[in-house]
């Protein structure tokens, strides 16, 4: 593994006190080259154990989600409940640009490490807090989860089928979105701090991020057309036709948003099925013209796709500039020749989990290439390197900290 991180954020130092709520924020920054130090309680964060887990040979069992969400970071252990804990954190913060934390609101303050205290140690420091509801407001101390944030943020009410209960997306998409916003907002605050010399507290609410991500179905639309968006299957309310359609061997997703795309689709359906009605000019124009005929057009298109394989619909549709894509399984994504040709997936060797394939870059910088700098750390893997070599704590003092259960 390379020793020095490289990337757009090389030279930035980040302390991360984050569980699965905010780990993706640290990953985004670390894969871009920031030196992200993950602080965990002695023994490791609880999120290390989240299933599904993987065991290589006789190695320790590792949570796969943890392995992915913590790439490129270094790891130290620190017990903030011990008297020496907050002091060590403050020392680390004095040379950091950013602290990312996901503790319940008020926790850092109770340790004497709130923004005002950290600011006295390092006035340029940015403190980014990611919590369910933010640092202020009547629900600030409410408990949250990815599911609860998806519910209160307005995402679940518009996900899935009309006759089913509301449902959330796979994994923890509310956390991923909040972490991505937290990374962006932290970078904005860092740019400002570089100019002004003044850091700030960034207050990320997972609920607000969810509401923002789902805002196509939010207040703007509702006040405009008076219709409260709800679940309505796979088709999007504003696009006709749109939805998942069954082929011979799976499903494709097909969507028409432009008048010309409709004409191309109608011709294609006619060629395959002989359907004359679909060529009727009354269906032409923007989606709003087809809105009254949504069900009829869905029937026409289902009849048509049922005669095609997924691959044929995908290739032929795209050659006609129609937005048709397969509804992929995880296996199909992992084996997609397009992703392979771009070298999307990356191999990473972890000390205990061994060599595994990971999803790769979300973006590609021409001059500062994104890369996984190192595998997720094992608990306290970099204690020596960071506490002794970088903070200058003596061997004997380190031994005392270890004996005291601080690290």
């Amino acid at each position: 593994m390379p020793t020095r991180p490289s990337g757009a954020l090389t030279g930035r130092r980040v302390l991360e006190l984050a569980d699965e709520t905010g780990a993706y924020c640290g990953k985004l920054l670390a894969d871009l080259g920031a030196d992200v130090i993950k602080l965990e309680p002695p023994g490791g964060d609880r999120s290390r154990r989240l299933p599904p887990r993987f065991r290589a040979g006789s190695g320790r069992e590792e949570g796969l989600s943890f392995l992915y969400l913590n790439t490129s970071k270094r790891g130290v252990t620190l017990d903030l409940q011990k008297p020496e804990g907050p002091e060590l954190l403050a020392r680390l913060a004095s040379s950091a640009d950013l602290v990312v934390e996901t503790l319940a609101p008020g926790t850092l303050e109770s340790l004497g490490l709130g923004y005002e205290s950290l600011r006295r140690v390092n006035s340029r420091l940015v403190l980014t807090s990611i919590t369910g509801f933010g640092q202020t407001g009547p629900h600030r101390d409410f408990r949250s989860s990815d599911l609860v944030a998806s519910a209160l943020g307005g995402a679940m009410t518009v996900t899935g089928e009309e006759e089913d209960p509301p449902v959330r997306l796979a994994g923890t998409q509310a956390y991923v979105a909040a972490s991505t916003v937290a990374a962006a907002s932290s970078l904005i605050a860092l740019l400002a701090s570089s100019q002004s010399g003044e850091g700030q507290h960034v207050d990320i609410s997972v609920q607000e991020v969810t509401a923002s991500v789902a805002h196509i179905c939010g207040v703007g639309k509702w006040l405009d057309d008076g219709i409260i968006p709800r679940r309505q299957g796979t088709g999007l309310f504003a696009s006709v036709p749109s939805g998942a359609y069954a082929c011979q061997d799976g499903n494709v997703y097909l969507m028409v948003n432009r008048p010309l795309h409709w004409i191309a689709l109608a011709r294609w359906v006619h060629e395959v099925t002989g359907n004359q009605e679909i060529l009727d000019p009354m269906f032409e124009g923007p989606s709003s013209n087809r809105q009254p005929y949504r069900e009829l057009l869905d029937l026409f298109i289902s009849e048509f796709t049922s005669q095609l394989s997924v691959e044929a619909a995908y290739r032929e549709g795209q050659s006609r500039h129609i937005a048709v894509t397969p509804v992929n399984t995880a296996a199909a994504v992992a084996e997609d020749p397009h992703l392979a040709s771009r070298g999307f997936f990356q191999e990473v060797v972890h000390p205990t989990a061994g060599r595994l394939t990971y999803p790769g870059a979300p973006y590609r910088h021409s001059e500062t290439p994104w890369r996984i700098q190192r595998p997720a750390p094992t608990p306290g893997q970099h204690n020596q390197e960071i506490y002794r070599d970088e903070l200058g704590i003596s061997e004997s003092a380190l031994r005392a900290l270890r004996a005291g259960g601080v690290i």
């Binding site: 989240l50 969400l69 997306l169 991500v213 992929n328 979300p362 500062t368």
Partner: protein, 421 residues
Amino acid sequence: MPMRDRSANEPAQALAGLRAVEFTAAMAGPWIGRFLAYCGAEVIRVESRSRPDVVRLYVPPRNPELGTQPQLSPWFTDWNAGKRFVSLDLRQPLAVELGKRLAARSDIVIENYSAGVMDKLGLGYPELRRVNPELIMFSSSGFGDTGPCKRFVTWGPNIEALSGMSRLSGFPSRACTLTQYAHPDAMSALHGLVAVLAALDHRRRGGGGQYINLSQYEATVAGMGHVMMEYLALGREPARLGNRSRHAAPHGCYPCRGEDRWCAISVVTDSEWQSLCGVLGRREWLDDPRFASLADRLDHAEALDAEIAECTRDRTDYELMNALQRAGVAAGVVQNAEDLARHDEHLAARGFFEQLEHLEKGRVTATGVPLGLTGTPGRSGRAGAAVGQDNDYVFGTLLGMTRREIEAAIEAGAIEPVDDL
């Protein structure tokens, strides 16, 4: 609903002094500029009448007789708040030249046209770098700018399907599950924002400009990476869990009194479980061996969900949420657009929603921008306006063209006159 406080003595904005030019459409591109503008950057959006943004082809559902209303889409007005609008017919050499002059005066170019279109127009990165070596150019498309499928046409929901998100989400009884809000469009824009800001940080430290390419497919898979790992490491398709969790039970969305009213509940620890039994008035569950430990509750998740649903059915959603939260249990009403704007006292207290000034409608309400910058709070400017609304400012004041030069460019068809398409 209360607005964000706007005092006359507003603090400095974080990105003041930066300028971005965008050649964008729909959401995945424009939403990036929305955040930049909110933080004080000057964002100029270039549009062309020959290829209108699909969001401008908006027919108001309440007044379809009005026909297409390019300035009235609630999405267009939101995604483009705070921007300047110019109209250039990019098929004209003079228009391309003006586009280049704008790029030469900017820090950032953002584009999400189909892969290859900017190059064909003569506005690709090699051209723009020649006029501005410090430029950060960000380009976003469905599949990215290399690979066999780079020219394929996609919209947000296509990416949801392609990335595995639709197939891996939702109840096991369904073949696939989709959002009504094109989740990947938002996630691509947010990842793009991170990418651009990181490049700015690199440039600030003397690193120079660069080109960034984003594949919306790859960005969405990256956000699903923690789910994908199960296949990549263990060779098995991740199970569709619906609202269940592998490490929490009960974990679901339970019916409440009224039509389409639900409350989500997540319970991990035994003490949370005890609190839940108390609030639901079912202390006998504490002695039920099926529910004794988390492992037992996970094993009997189906029976557990059914029993809880029986208890929640007669409760009102907000009352149940508040009772559970008072007892320390994570619970939340499944809120819709109206609930968020009218019934969420917490969002109201935080001043989350915004009022945007709109040139035709007066004011419109928009969902807030969740950046949480307490030291340099953002501000939303004017809602998205007409194609070419700011031609005079941008070409005259900014580029220093004379009245006669602008008129000549309009005469030549390079600058399109301000209008509604």
